[in-house]
């Protein structure tokens, strides 16, 4: 993941496991690194099995940062854990990405 000039760059960053207070610092570095101006970045959330407020904050930060530098950040393949956290926090619409998998119980 270089931060070199990124014309029409498309990156997919798969995140897995726990996106929480315990791994927040590490994830923050990773998320900020992957963003680049004019690039399209997709965060694949299919393997996230835990997401807490710290994780949510990070995603919000990444989204805002992406908007600031002109990078298209998309969240995709929301796992059930992600969907539940988005529902609970009311943040789903903030990201605005289509959520394909509906939770079993709403």
């Amino acid at each position: 993941m270089s931060s070199a000039s990124a014309e029409n760059l498309y990156r997919i960053l798969p995140l897995e496991g726990s996106l929480s207070i315990y791994s927040a610092t590490e994830h923050m570095g990773l998320l900020l690194q992957v963003l680049a101006p004019d690039a399209e970045v997709e965060l694949d959330l299919s393997a996230i099995d835990e997401l807490d407020c710290a994780g949510l904050q990070l995603l919000v930060l990444a989204k805002q940062e992406a908007g600031r530098i002109g990078c298209h950040l998309r969240l995709s393949n929301h796992s059930p854990a992600v969907i539940e956290a988005f529902e609970l926090s009311g943040l789903g619409t903030f990201f605005g990405d289509p959520i394909l998998i509906k939770p079993a119980s709403e």
């Binding site: 923050m28 407020c53 710290a54 919000v60 940062e65 926090s89 619409t93 605005g96």
Partner: protein, 727 residues
């Protein structure tokens, strides 16, 4: 007023506004960032939202609200219109048009078809994406979500309101707000939640382990305050927790707004999003205040909001829009009235009858020779003429609006077929009958698509031929006498007559021995089942096009012709009558029958001294040979011709001919009545009219007559090839 009628007006207006919005969006592609254009788009969305609110169309209100919010950000230069956003807004416009069509059809917007619902959600989400980055928690996006899920209960204030600002160490202390929410859900239901992200710093200052979040929650529960309070026991120390029981007094909400750290104005909005205060309550309060009316209970909040709104006032704007809407409507009403097209048709019909009656009166007066009577009828017919002249333009509309629809067509099609094509429009201010304009839509679409798909070459071919990379399709309209001419021109490869001929032979449309002029070959394009495209594409090339176009044009009493230069481009020219109802005619007699020739096509009238002046169907006039037709022969009238005959010289589109008639009667206003199907085969008749004395006169279709005359010589019935050969 009848609600249904008001709703109809709303639908018609919204459709117009959506068209304006689309025009503006397409214009933006050429003049990005033009403030007026952006304002036009904003106004359109704004007005639709306002009117939809009046009808309780919450779905449309919510949807346009997001769109409007995005537009507002564009207006304040936080966002720029780019291709992506324009495309999104075009889709938004389409979707709104669809929703409004559903309203028109009487459908219930709360139960949308799956497909529409999916589009709705996708677009809402895509729109809210544009709201997200800058002012983080601008929580408008939560509104459609709530409505989509149909949580009507969330709109009433019979729930708790929780305002939570978590302390920075909440996460580090092992507390997760999400866990608290889960706990809340065990003895109640979170009706709606709005996250507040204002405190979230930029990446550089961010400590990933610090909690920056706040939430406003509407919580429905039967539990007592102690239970709810207890939920937050472990975070209370460094967090700000405010809990308001259901049905609190407005003063308490006011107090809440004042004690929370965020700007009061936004909190009012958030309370509304949460459903703690309904939009209607908030608006009512604001409206009441604007109107100087008294509304005791909620007034304080309104005042606070008003005070705070001096700088930026989206909510006040939303509240005031209904009022503004009413005002706008009023000022519109001053200059424009909406009239049912049927009423107009009725009026035009009556004017037509009046003209016939007037002509009758005038003729009678003439026959009586009563000079005062004659004077009176002269005055009368002049006034009737004026009435006609002012009644006809009522139905006239500019063709520009129809032309502008094609900006979208060209844009979409050029993306679809991967060619860079621009559309230029001229003569958009040309006016013609509304019913004609409406029926031109389909044929024009076909011609434009054809021009784009077949006409314009691929980029490689264009470059190889030294043409500009961008292809151009041009729509032009202008007046020509009593006709309007519409042209569709492209600067593409043009038509290859040889290829068309080969294809026509292959299809058996032309026999191998036949030789055709270039114009005749081009006319083959209009034959049913003919297509020149080597490849059938999605758009055209299946040979079900040009013949339909021609039929449509013919049904409007119009003609269509095509000219093309190989390698240079193709021009399709459509000639249409200005109106379908009334023409100025020139009445002539042959035997007992009256014939009307449209006055615009009459060039001059001359006396025919003797039969011998006509040689081989031609008459020498001003040193030129003029083809002449005897109407007596054309219509098989076997009455005896009078000693003196006259020739009416008619011209149309460069073709001229003389019509030999018995008697010239004079100018005459004529209401065209269509002929029955029995006469469909008789192509030189355009209709009939009833004369003042009640007799019937046939209206000649001069363009058709001239075309027939100009057709292959062998078909002219008055002269044979042999007699040519003798000379």
């Amino acid at each position: 007023m009848d609600m249904d009628e008001v709703l109809k007006t709303f639908i018609a207006e919204s459709q117009e506004l959506l068209l304006q919005m689309e025009d503006a969006l397409l214009q933006l592609e050429h003049t990005p960032g033009d403030a007026d254009t952006i304002n036009a788009i904003f106004r359109a969305a704004h007005t639709i939202k306002g009117s939809a609110g009046l009808f309780g169309l919450d779905l449309i209100v919510a949807f346009t609200h997001i769109a409007e919010s995005v537009l507002d950000r564009v207006r304040s230069n936080e966002l720029q219109f780019n291709a992506e956003l324009t495309a999104l807004f075009l889709q938004v416009g389409d979707h709104l048009a669809r929703l409004i069509a559903l309203v028109d059809a009487g459908a219930d917007l709360n139960t949308l078809e799956v497909e529409v619902q999916a589009t709705h959600e996708t677009l809402s989400e895509q729109l809210s994406y544009y709201l997200a980055p800058a002012t983080a928690a601008k929580p408008v996006a939560s509104q459609p979500t709530r409505i989509e899920r149909g949580n009507a209960s969330g709109l009433s204030a019979d729930h708790w309101h929780l305002s939570l600002r978590f302390g920075p160490d909440t996460l580090r202390n092992g507390m997760d707000p999400l866990g608290l929410f889960r706990y809340l859900n065990t003895f109640g239901r979170i009706v709606s939640i709005v996250p507040l992200l204002d405190r979230l710093p930029s990446a550089a200052e961010m400590d990933p382990e610090t909690c920056y979040l706040g939430f406003e929650i509407a919580f429905a529960s039967d539990a007592d305050k102690a239970t709810i309070d207890g939920t937050f026991e472990f975070v209370r120390e460094d967090s700000l927790i405010r809990i308001l029981p259901p049905h609190s007094k407005s003063d308490e909400y006011l107090e809440l707004i004042r004690t929370l750290p965020e700007e009061d104005m936004r909190l009012g909005e958030i309370l509304m999003r949460c459903g703690t205060l309904t939009a209607a309550e908030l608006q009512e309060v604001l409206l009441a205040q604007v109107e100087g009316q008294q509304r005791d209970e909620a007034q304080p909040i309104g005042q606070v909001l008003m005070e705070q709104s001096l700088v930026q006032a989206p909510v006040i704007a939303a509240a005031l829009q209904k009022q503004q809407q009413i005002k706008d409507n009023r000022s519109n009403e001053n200059s424009l009235i909406r009239v049912d097209a049927n009423k107009l048709d009725k009026l035009i019909d009556l004017v037509g009858e009046l003209i016939i009656a007037g002509a009758g009166a005038r003729m009678t007066a003439k026959n009586c020779g009563h000079s005062e009577m004659l004077e009176a009828t002269e005055l009368l017919s002049r006034l009737v003429e004026e009435v006609r002249d002012s009644a006809l333009p009522l139905r006239m509309v500019q063709i520009g609006a129809t032309f502008n629809r094609f900006q979208r067509v060209v844009r979409d099609v050029s993306k679809e077929i991967g060619k860079d094509i621009s559309l230029s429009i001229s003569g958009g201010e040309t006016e013609l009958d509304k019913s004609v304009v409406e029926r031109m839509g389909d044929p024009l679409t076909h011609l434009v698509r054809n021009a784009m798909d077949h006409g314009i070459e691929s980029l490689q071919t264009r470059q190889a031929n030294g043409k500009p990379a961008q292809g151009n399709v041009c729509l032009n309209a202008c007046h020509d006498g009593g006709n309007i001419i519409i042209e569709v021109t492209d600067d593409g490869g043009g038509l290859d007559p040889q290829r068309i001929l080969a294809k026509a032979r292959e299809r058996g449309l032309v026999s191998d021995s036949q030789t055709l002029t270039e114009q005749e070959i081009f006319n083959l394009i209009f034959e049913p089942g003919f297509s020149t495209a080597d490849q059938v594409s999605n758009l055209s090339g299946r040979g079900v096009g040009m013949d339909v176009v021609k039929r449509n044009i013919s049904a409007l009493r119009g003609t269509i012709e095509l000219s093309s230069t190989l390698g240079q481009g193709t021009r399709v020219r459509i000639r249409l009558p200005l109106t379908l109802a009334i023409i100025d005619g020139f009445l002539v007699n042959v035997g007992q029958a009256g014939y009307v020739i449209p006055l615009e096509q009459v060039e001059e009238c001359i006396e025919l001294h003797s039969d011998s002046a006509i040689t081989r169907g031609h008459l020498e006039l001003h040193g030129q040979m003029l083809p002449v037709v005897r109407l007596r022969e054309l219509f098989d009238d076997d009455s005896t011709p009078p000693r003196r005959e006259s020739v009416v010289v008619v011209q149309q589109g460069g073709l001229r001919a003389g019509l030999v008639v018995d008697q010239l009667v004079g100018e005459f206003q004529t209401v065209i009545k269509p002929l029955g199907k029995v006469f469909a085969a008789c192509r030189v008749l355009g209709g009939f009219t009833i004369l003042g004395d009640g007799s019937v006169a046939l209206i000649l279709d001069i363009p058709r007559l001239l075309t027939q005359l100009a057709a292959p010589r062998s078909a002219v019935p008055f002269e044979t090839k042999q007699s040519y050969a003798h000379e």
